[in-house]
């Protein structure tokens, strides 16, 4: 036994520094560990470790009836959980062959695009924070609050929403919800414009982000990039256009693309997508307003075996009582099938691969989590750059720990 601290072999001669960026680091916005090999401040090599908040959702889902899996999807990308919820409902509806009334589709589009805005505004304002500009974050954050108030009015919760049901929504949108939506549509463009004025042509911000963490279109495709990060590299792939779901084909919008795939392009793509989302919401709201009278009361499809009946009917009608009981106790058999369905999540193609064998629970459920797939490119993106570039690259990729670990 030696009284001295024993240095590992080769540690004296080593010219480089090993730095643990994470798992809990104020600059990484989540539980990520990156072991960096640094020469001064330049990154020679990076090794990513993930899995700190793995919660075994796929395993848990194998023992749950369909409607109880929705709260699990909330916790994937928790910045835009309504999209995850809707994605899951749409997958179930595809499996069960349910077609929805148009009004429900449009209401879903409103909620999903609000979620996309809340996702992108967080990401972009955090890129601002990480490059040293805090005020943009404060400007936009109050509008996420407005979006959350709309969610709250529709489903009762804010962050992990569990919004909607298989077949539609749990209740119709109230007037308050539409009033809040109108307020959001009226106020947000001004604020977003101001945010863009602060950043887009800001010399300091441009110098900081242009050429930082770039990726070519070819590499991005090979790495399985989807969503804004792929589009920033110049590939116009968007699930909403390629495989329209929830009546996205009824809307008129463009897909913004960048060309260098660096932090600045990712920032621009996300900003432009927020404008597009605003336009989609306006169109959807106009379409929803077209429904009058009885049609304006439609907020779910007629699927009694999967959609919970009105509580009043449960007390007074035999059939409603039976369905209520069977749904709540998870005693509905799901038809056997194999389905892959994807939606355009905040970060890219969020896919659900569902296999059922005729039992009451999925036989296998796999979430295609976009973050998990594109985060493996992170070491390549930051190699050769400065340490501070690694921080800003990570936030502009919008890595969400919940989505990555599943």
């Amino acid at each position: 036994m030696s009284d001295h601290i024993l240095l590992p072999e080769g540690s004296i001669e080593k010219q480089t520094t090993t730095l643990n960026l994470g798992p809990t680091h104020p600059a990484t916005h989540g539980v990520f560990q990156n072991i960096l090999e640094l020469d001064g401040e330049r990154i020679l090599k990076a090794t990513s470790t993930v899995g700190y908040i793995h919660r075994a959702f796929e395993k848990i889902a194998e023992r749950r009836p369909l409607y109880q899996i929705t709260p699990l999807t909330d916790r994937l990308n928790y910045c835009s959980s309504p999209i995850n919820n809707m994605g899951w409902h749409i997958t179930c509806e595809k499996l069960l062959g349910i077609t929805l009334p148009k009004r429900v589709d449009y209401l879903r589009v409103i909620i999903m695009e609000l979620a996309r805005i809340s996702d992108h505004l967080i990401c972009n304002s955090i890129v601002g924070v990480d490059s040293g500009a805090y005020s943009g974050f404060l400007y936009l954050m109050q509008f996420r609050e407005l979006i959350y108030e709309i969610y709250e009015e529709v489903c009762g919760s804010r962050l992990t929403t569990n919004i909607g049901r298989i077949g539609g929504f749990e209740r119709n949108f109230t007037n308050t919800a539409f009033e809040r939506l109108e307020k959001f549509l009226a106020d947000y463009p001004k604020q977003l414009k101001e945010f863009e004025n602060l950043f887009t042509r800001n010399r300091i911000f441009m110098d900081r982000t242009i050429g930082c963490g770039p990726i070519s279109a070819e590499r991005a495709l090979n790495y399985g990039f989807t969503g804004p990060n792929l589009r920033a590299a110049g590939v116009d792939y968007d699930v909403r256009v390629h495989t329209p779901y929830s009546s996205y084909e009824d809307f008129d919008f463009t897909i913004p693309v960048g060309n260098t795939g660096d932090c600045y392009d990712r920032f621009l793509v996300r900003n432009n997508e927020m404008w597009q989302s605003l336009s989609i919401i306006k169109q959807a709201y106009e379409k929803v307003k077209q429904f009058k009278g009885v049609e304006a009361e439609v907020f779910h499809a007629d699927v009694p075996a999967y959609y919970l009946p009105e509580k009043e009917d449960v007390y007074t009608k035999m059939e409603a009582l039976i369905y209520h009981f069977k749904i709540v106790m998870g005693e509905t058999d799901i038809p056997a099938g194999e389905v892959y369905c994807s939606v355009e999540g905040g970060n890219g193609e969020l896919g659900f691969y569902l296999i059922t064998d005729g039992g009451r629970t999925p036989y296998r459920l796999h979430f295609r989590r976009p973050c998990f797939i594109y985060y493996q490119a992170f070491p390549e993106l930051i190699q050769g750059g400065m340490l501070s570039d690694a921080v800003i690259t990570m936030s502009s990729l919008n890595i969400i720990a919940g989505e990555m670990d599943g």
Binding site: G51, E58, E62, R64, Q68, G224, Y353, R364
Partner: protein, 167 residues
């Protein structure tokens, strides 16, 4: 939408003959099974062919079928032709005692972590993978948790003798 499922099937059958089997189209997505020693050849062919151009690996995962002896684990690939916007799915089956499947990392960088995840949860041994170690679970774990021999308690179990709830 120039490329249709029938063309894909024709081209694949022409190249690989009868070794590809179990052709299906659940919900419009062409699905087939390939022998496990052919998986790289099929992937490479789908990638290189000028008409097929399946150059985007959407997803890769495994499924455990404990009852089919000798073919307990299925590795499922979801591929996407972005130009023509066609998706296909193909599966290779392997036994659970020696679950060796060739790694697709040489074709798709994206397969790296997907295969690590599949290894982590199902124990599929991807031959030729550069760094096949656990990714989401702890390194010390000595079993593969998503296999069906590790059940959670089923909330909807039917074996309970509970008169109150009519089970």
């Amino acid at each position: 939408m120039s490329l249709v499922n029938a063309t894909i099937k024709e081209k694949l059958t022409e190249k690989f003959g009868v070794s590809l089997s179990d052709w299906q189209e659940p919900y419009g997505m062409l699905t087939f099974t390939a022998p496990k020693d052919l998986n790289l050849k099929v992937l490479q062919f789908l990638y290189d062919d000028e008409e097929l151009k399946f150059r985007f690996l959407t997803d890769l995962q495994a499924v455990h079928y404990p009852d089919s002896k000798g073919a307990e684990l299925a590795v499922v690939y979801h591929l996407h032709n972005l130009a023509d916007n066609v998706r296909i799915r193909f599966k290779v089956f392997t036994d659970i005692i020696k679950p060796d499947v060739f790694s697709a990392t040489a074709i798709y960088q994206a397969a790296n972590w997907m295969e690590r995840e599949t290894y982590d949860f199902y124990g599929v041994n991807f031959l030729g993978h550069p760094n096949l170690i656990r990714i989401l679970n702890v390194d010390e774990m000595d079993y593969f948790p998503m296999r069906k021999e590790f059940p959670l308690e089923e909330q909807t179990r039917v074996d309970k003798d509970d008169e109150m709830f009519g089970r």
